[in-house]
Symmetry: D2
Subunit: 298 residues, 4 copies
């Protein structure tokens, strides 16, 4: 029974998760390099603060190198029977590598995709996990504390072996890219014509009864409430790894992903000051037809 | 105050709407060419059965020619002050034409986009309407009876003048195409790899707490419940007008719609026995490289 | 035998065509509202200057209203047996309308799609025409004068009845959109990485022996010669009707056009100062994750 | 001065290249595991047959493991000053690895992208190479023998350091995917309507004077000549690595590639018996609207 656990990484997500776990009665010792939010001074102190047997450490730091470093450090501090939970947005092959590294010392590894953003503290987090049946069963109190109210199977899944949690989360995020772009294109269509005189009101009215109702739609309505033409916001959109991995994975498996890839490319385009490709098209048109081009504004 | 109204077209949608209106205490005389579902024997009988002043007839027949015919027939039966509601999936320029035709006789016209499918009877219908303030205000009891429970503005909008309701519904359906394709691509990704051992369970777990939760996701989970690999269903997908109009409209307004158009084209492809384009690509590859092609199965 | 003909519209294309026809020994009386380039003072003078029987007038003015006006005016000036050739980029249903209008007076109509741009004067023009066998046969000397050297069937086609010429030209231009975008994306890929140290030289080397060699590639190489990173050119790209019609037509016929539509949408995007859709995506990300957005630069 | 060289891999490409080199006066000893086409019995015999100093071996075997094995074997047989040319379709990071392996023994490495297919024997091959200036200069007689007639810079480029040749070839092939799909979509549009009565003749007429003229168009015309509706060919299209790598590389560099990715996905779709994604869309439509679906044909 897990009654006290460690949590490494107290950013926006980690901090909220510590709070939600504590509210559920699970003790949490948190570590973060920033002393003002950290409960202990080092990873080693964190591990010492945990009760045995079967110590549990949840890692919630940026994917890639930062996660790799924390897991490696934990490998040197933990013992047989302990378990590491990787809750960041790791690429699933990295999970398989890290699980193998920890397995050499008898330390378990469970990867968890966590969805819900800043709303998770109050609403709970959607959780997809990958790992052994035994490890997942042991950690269920932790997952039950974090997941949303309601039937467990509607906010939590043991999706498969190590890596399956982050694979599922990767696909989840790929879908998210497509959904967001679909709503965004619809918004632009409504805003492009004068006939719909109340764009915000129209999307607000889609929240009940319609086929397109969703949580993302509700967020869109909230965003339009304060700024009904998005005047205060730039059209620059970041992307964070999972969308790219989803398309990479699709290519490896010969799966056509026209919508998710289009959503990803729209983000790439949004960040270009100028499009080299469209300069090339303009140059071509000029060559064959003497078509007017605009001189570069640079 | 509308206490009794006419309803033309008692198909899947119209029949349910008649029932929901009656449950809300609004009398409905329904007409349909199929006598077994119709309350009266003709359009003329329907109009005679309605109390004045300001008779109300809701038209709920297939878009295009059928709707045009019913509205023209009503133009000959109704008088000044009466109102026709076009609740089918008309193309918005058709609304503007029909409204002008009725206006010549002093008959009002309100177009309403109705979303909700077979679930509307119990959940209520999302409604987007276009028309004059006076006509819409007069019809509010009807709309309140049909729309979902909860705040009116979350399930109903007066989107603008005549045509705005169906324009909003057209965009709504365009978004719907994109959303469905995004979930579908995600489903295919999950199903393409062995790592996620429970595809149905994974999508089921997205229903609470996650960013991708929505009503469409809930329907996907229901569909997977009975047939977790969609073995019993063909990959042939119809399209019904609004998706095409959305892309046409985007082109007229120079709005880029990569996701919605990709979703539309995926449906076109799904209905082709063979792709002429891909035969051409295969032929080209054979020409330049002597690449193997498969002889046609025809 | 056509030895002398009229030509209405002496812009970049019309002026060059008059010159090429004259070089081939066909007399041309040209009319244009700009007196400095026109041979006559009015359409009526142009028609008077033509020898009968079977006068021939080639119309080469912008598609849409300008073409409609000229053809209508010619309808009042020409007689039975005369022929109008519409050589602009008319939408093919307009050809069918105009041909019917002229047929009432016994005047023939042939639509011709003309490709080749400013290079046509020297290289000849690729011609696709639609009309009756008799009219096309009568006009062959004109087409032979304009088309490129070499076998007739490699630069000229009688594609079908009235409208077929512009339908073929529309599809030709749709393909052109896709080809240009493909080269442009490839250019951007080469320019995005340091590994290829000579982008211009690389594309120049594709002109002989490779699978991608083409006239458009040669134009790209010319464009890169003077401006190897397109520093002097803006990424703003116009579109001129045929691309839009191609996608509209595809939608009417349920033909999937992922590449040509993507090329069209890329042009739409290139002309947007800001993308409303991407503002919406940025707003959504901010709502659910507190993700950083850039304040609008407006 | 290279007067005699080795060539490993005598498939369709290698066999033709041996012939073209010999016609140009360069001696070639070819090795292939199939004795009926091989000049020698083993790689070791091939190396022994080459004159020093600076022996040259061109490797022309399938990318990936086969190429890796041949280059490793050559590493053990060659000496300081010798050069290996990798002419297959290797992924460019593999070139960098193999060059480093050979450099340990003082053996040079040049990667060459070769375009032209079965037509290269007569037309010459478009060549893009990566390597040191010294190695490339030494090998110029070989490249001059293989490249097409005409100015060297129109059929050959030294694109950059090791890897640049295959990077350029990868992008070349990505463009090729886009070009082929553009022509194929255009073909489908022509074939979809009755108005163009001669599809083959129309595309044939695009070969001179038009903006879309190209070698690929000529191949399309050839293909249509024998089979004007592609009745004898299946719509199943393979893909061979470079298209996938191009999109992967674009994702790594945040370059939007809507056209090339759409062309790649069209190939993936062409090989699916059934689309899992479109089954999912059909299932969704059935859930919300009771829309008809087709029972699976399986």
């Amino acid at each position: 029974m897990v009654t006290h656990m460690g949590l490494v990484g107290l950013g926006k997500m980690g901090d909220n998760m510590r709070e939600r776990l504590r509210r559920a009665g699970i003790g949490v010792t948190g570590y973060d390099p920033r002393p003002e939010v950290s409960d202990v001074g080092s990873l080693a102190e964190l591990v010492e603060a945990l009760p045995g047997p079967r110590r549990v450490v949840w890692v919630m730091v940026p994917a890639g190198e930062p996660t790799r470093e924390v897991v490696s450090a934990l490998a040197g501090l933990l013992d047989e029977g302990d378990v590491v939970i990787e809750g960041g947005n790791s690429h699933y092959p990295d999970d398989q590598e890290r699980a193998a590294e920890l397995a050499e010392r008898g330390v378990g590894y469970v990867d968890v995709g966590v969805s819900g953003g800043v709303w998770g503290l109050e609403n709970g987090y959607g959780l997809m996990c990958g790992g052994s049946d035994a490890d997942v069963a042991f950690l269920m109190p932790v997952f039950d504390a974090l997941r949303p109210e309601g039937p467990r199977e509607e906010g939590f899944v043991h999706a498969g072996p190590v890596g399956a949690g982050h694979f599922a989360k990767m696909v989840h995020n790929g879908i998210e890219y497509g959904l967001m772009q679909a709503y965004a294109e619809g918004y632009e269509m409504l805003a492009a014509k004068d006939i719909v005189t109340d764009v915000h009101g129209t999307m607000r009215a889609w929240q009940r009864g319609t086929v397109v109702r969703s949580w993302l739609l509700e967020l869109m309505v909230r965003a339009l409430e304060d700024d009904p033409r998005f005047d205060a916001i730039d059209d620059w959109v970041a992307d964070s790894g999972e969308g790219r991995w989803t398309v990479d994975e699709a290519i490896d498996n010969a799966v056509p992903l026209p919508v998710i890839s289009a959503a990803l490319f729209a983000r790439f385009s949004s960040r270009q000051e100028e499009s080299p490709a469209m300069k090339a098209v303009a140059a071509l048109r000029q060559q064959f037809g003497g078509h007017a081009t605009k001189p570069s504004a640079e």
